[in-house]
């Protein structure tokens, strides 16, 4: 026989022989099976559905579950009304471990051991009412009898313990535990609880007197010596204060579990009333979660004062303002990339990063304070102090690249007993602002220097390029261009370059460099004009010839031999005069003006050739006779202005 078949056989025997059946007549029974045979069955009246109990009538669930070498068995029986338990119910659970051992003859013997748990009581509309009994022991227990190793009795009302309860645990005869207590109608611990147990070999009687769900007074009696809990006085003061509506403390409305009680009382409450009596667990096939709600406890609540709410709002506002500035700063500027260029910048960035981290923490703390449970903590002590200590961490700031520099952020003295949480955080948040302002100013200054440095470098590069271009342009210059190269490039531009190189201030350098660039650009743009000036006489004569040509007749409209005297005058008097003006230009501004004047006059001289009104002829005759170049220029320009 394989293990599988052996186990299957045993389970089938357990289910079929262990549970009475056939007692419930006129009902339906649904049988469930698994790989080991019959897993369980439900006997019911009416319709059986997965998520809800049948509507009414008797109900019986028998089940078993296998986990490893443990067999769990369940039996739940009672009556139903309106799909809810109503009337007397019994709930049983068993945890069985089993082993096959050699028997007295050829057959093996089956050894089992385990615990049998029974809850028995009455339901009304699905909620526990009246006396409920719980018993646990091996192999089988009966809650109606007093000989069970573990017994718990409790008066229930609407599903909660609302009256006396008693726990008797004699499973270890050398260290029995007996608890007697009471809860009010809401299930809140009340009256005086008496706990008897042994500790360190001594018998202890602990009495806890509850006031409004708070363990207000605790006494311990060991070997005839009674002692009181050290906090009793403080608790009394708090309880008295809590009854004053104007006080900063009150009895909270939240319910808390056994962890509220310290010491053995908390452990026993958790173990007997929460883990055993209050939490029957069963197979998933029983669709109702029936809870026998154990006692609950109250705590002092320290609600936020109006001042604290205001402080919190101001703290959040201040932190958000700082964060928005810092986030924008880190996003807009390449601080991480640039910080290595300057120790001051490095330290400022490290400082601002620390402030940003702190402000994020402040925001988290302020956000956490909106949790309803936050007010159950005495926020001037305990966790609050730890929060403040966390804020102080990282107060010492060092640069990432220049670590020798250290800067400290403001801290809060958390050891001070009168430190108020929100005030401390607010003060710390506000204290960061001057440091941020200083850092921002430092960063602005450093970046401005970087920018200036970059601008000047770019300017110098442009000047160098422009100078090279100018040199190559005028390298083989002749005529007027050669004169300009010597007079302005070798002279003025070189002097200006020297002056620029010796400039100290940023503004002066920027101005000098910009002017230098402009001047070089001007000389470059003027270059084609020098050839025009050199060839002015020739150009004028060719222009006269070209423009005089009439394509319709093939002849010149202007007879050059008529104009020859005028042209000669222009070439010998007016143009040399204008050329001299160009050569004697003291600065670039004058050079541009005189060049422009020369070229404009040359163009006007061409246009003049085609003007044939009487006034034009008269002016031409005057110009032919004029020997004063300045006067000649004035007469000509005045005349052409009107034409």
């Amino acid at each position: 026989m394989t293990d599988f078949f052996r186990l299957s056989f045993l389970l089938t025997v357990a289910v079929l022989s262990g549970w009475p059946n056939g007692l419930l007549h006129g009902q339906s029974t649904k049988v469930y099976s698994d790989a080991f045979g019959v897993q369980g069955r439900i006997t019911f009246t009416g319709e059986l559905r997965d998520s809800v109990l049948p509507e009414k009538g008797p109900y019986l669930l028998e089940w078993r579950r296998v986990e490893g070498d443990t067999l769990y068995t369940y039996r739940i029986s009672g009556t139903l009304k309106n799909n809810l338990p109503h009337g007397t119910w019994t709930r049983e659970e068993g945890d069985w471990r089993y082993a096959l051992v050699p028997g007295k003859d050829i057959r093996p013997a089956l050894e089992t051991e385990g615990v049998h748990e029974v809850w028995k009581g009455r339901f009304e509309a699905g909620r526990a009412e009246g006396l409920w009994r719980y018993a646990a022991g091996a192999p089988l227990v009966n809650p109606e009898r007093n000989d069970s190793p573990l017994r718990i009795e409790a008066r229930m009302r609407k599903g909660v313990i609302a009256g006396d309860f008693q726990v008797t645990d004699r499973r270890d005869p050398a260290a029995p535990v007996i608890i007697e207590g009471r809860c009010d109608e809401n299930g809140v611990a009340a009256g005086t609880w008496i706990l008897r147990y042994r500790e360190d070999g001594a018998e202890v009687t602990e009495r806890i007197t509850f006031d409004a769900g708070i363990a207000a007074e605790r006494t311990f009696e060991r070997g005839g010596i009674s002692e009181s809990d050290g906090r009793t006085k403080e608790l009394k003061v708090l309880l008295n204060a809590a009854r004053d509506s104007a006080a900063a403390v009150r009895i909270g409305s939240e319910n808390f579990g056994p962890e509220t009680l310290t010491g053995k009382a908390g452990a026993f409450t958790s173990r007997y009333l929460y883990a055993l009596f209050g939490a029957p667990h069963g197979p998933e096939e029983f669709p109702l979660d029936i809870a026998l709600k154990p006692p609950v406890f109250k705590r002092f609540e320290f609600p936020l004062s109006e001042e604290e709410v205001v402080l919190r709002a101001k703290t959040e506002e201040a932190a958000e303002a700082v964060l928005s500035v810092l986030e924008a700063l880190f996003e807009e500027r390449n601080l991480e990339i640039e910080r290595a260029r300057s120790p001051e910048l490095d330290l400022a960035v490290a400082f601002l990063q620390a402030v940003r981290s702190r402000m994020r923490k402040v925001e988290d703390l302020m956000s956490a304070s909106r949790d309803p449970l936050f007010t159950y903590i005495d926020r001037n002590h305990g966790g609050a102090a730890e929060n403040l200590r966390a804020l102080n961490r990282g107060a010492e700031v060092r640069g990432k690249f220049y670590e020798e520099d250290v800067r400290r952020l403001d801290t809060v003295a958390t050891a001070s007993s009168d430190t108020r949480y929100f005030r401390a955080v607010y003060d710390l948040t506000k204290a960061a602002e001057p440091g941020i302002t200083r850092c921002l100013r430092t960063i602005d200054g450093i970046f401005a220097d970087f920018k200036k440095e970059g601008e000047l470098k770019a300017l110098e590069a442009r000047i160098t390029d422009s100078a090279a271009l100018l040199d190559s342009l005028y390298a083989d210059a002749s005529g007027m261009a050669a004169f300009i190269a010597e007079r302005f490039i070798a002279g003025q531009i070189t002097d200006d370059l020297r002056a620029y190189a010796n400039t100290d201030g940023y503004t002066e350098a920027l101005e000098a460099g910009s002017k230098l660039l402009r001047d070089m650009d001007t000389l470059r743009s003027l270059y084609p004009d020098w050839e025009k000036i050199d060839r002015a006489e020739q150009n004028l004569e060719e222009g006269y010839r070209y423009f005089a040509y009439n394509p319709y007749t093939g002849e010149r409209d202007i007879e050059l031999k008529v104009k020859v005297r005028f042209l000669r005058k222009v070439k010998t008097v007016l143009l040399p005069y204008l050329k001299t003006q160009v050569r004697e230009s003291g600065n670039l501004h004058n050079l541009v003006e005189s060049t422009d004047r020369f070229l404009r006059t040359e163009s006007e001289l061409l246009r003049f050739a085609f003007l044939d009104e009487r006034s034009d002829k008269r002016v031409e005759r005057r110009l032919r006779k004029e020997d004063q170049p300045a006067r000649m220029y004035r007469i000509f320009t005045a005349h052409m202005k009107d034409r």
Binding site: F547, Y552, E555
Partner: protein, 260 residues
């Protein structure tokens, strides 16, 4: 013979207004596009005579058009400084480049007589051209040959820009309108076509100029109830191996020179 500028402009305006008699009859018009490439030449042999040469290629390679090759030769008689009488011969070859077109290949021998008068002012150069044509048309589709007579009148204006600026002296604006009337007894067949033309020209020298312009031709086509409207791009080169332009322009445009 010179006429005032305002008088010339008035003639041109009136001619343009009355040169489309059929359009007032709400006939249907069809539009076509094409291009003409033209060469003109007037070559003086002596003071009295000269040769007129002309070649035109019309609508070659244009879509859905009748391609025309045209050659003219004439004898110019210089009757005065500003008038020329010409008699000549012309040969025309027309071939539709699309079989869908309702035209057959035609060949035409043409004898023509022409009288041309030129006038100029300081700003404008105007020209009146009167022409008579005797047309001998052979149809390629076997239809009997046709003899036809036509008279044409063209009024042309040239506006040289050299009076505006010496820099624009080579450029001119040219425009003309020409109406052609058949000499027939049936009044419905008298109108043949009208050409309105405007162009920008470049005068290289007295002998050579180029023109690029637009011509709008409204022609009555045999067998078609409506006029055919042609929008034509026209490129013209004129090469005159004589001193026609030179002698024509010289006297008036030469400025009076007080120093002479």
């Amino acid at each position: 013979m010179e006429i005032p500028l305002r008088c010339t402009a008035l003639i041109a305006l009136a001619f343009a207004l009355f040169s489309f008699p059929e359009r007032a009859d709400a006939q249907q018009y069809t539009d076509k596009t094409g291009w003409w490439l033209i060469y003109f030449g007037d070559n003086k042999l002596n003071d009295k005579f000269g040769l007129h040469t002309e070649a035109q290629l019309r609508n070659h390679f244009a879509e859905n058009q009748v391609e025309t090759s045209l050659f003219r030769l004439g004898l110019n008689m210089y009757t005065s400084k500003s008038t020329i009488a010409t008699v000549g011969y012309g040969y025309f070859y027309n071939e539709p480049n699309d079989t869908e077109l309702p035209f057959a290949i035609t060949r035409e021998h043409r004898i023509w007589q022409q009288f041309l008068t030129r006038h100029k002012s300081r700003q404008l150069f105007t020209e009146h051209r009167y022409r008579l044509e005797q047309r001998f048309i052979e149809f390629g589709d076997g239809q009997p040959s046709l003899t036809d007579h036509r008279m044409r009148y063209r009024f042309q204006v040239i506006f040289p820009f050299y009076t505006l600026s010496p820099y624009l002296r080579h450029y001119f604006l040219a425009g003309y309108n020409e109406v052609m009337l058949n000499l027939r007894s049936n009044s419905a067949e008298i109108y043949d076509r009208n050409r309105l033309y405007v162009a920008l020209g470049y005068q290289v020298s007295p002998k050579l100029n180029f023109q690029l312009g637009y011509m709008n031709q409204a022609a009555r086509q045999p067998g078609l109830a409506s006029l055919e409207i042609n929008h034509l791009l026209q490129a013209t080169v004129s090469y005159n191996m004589d001193d026609l332009m030179r002698t024509f322009f010289r006297p008036a445009d030469r400025p009076e020179n007080p120093d002479r």
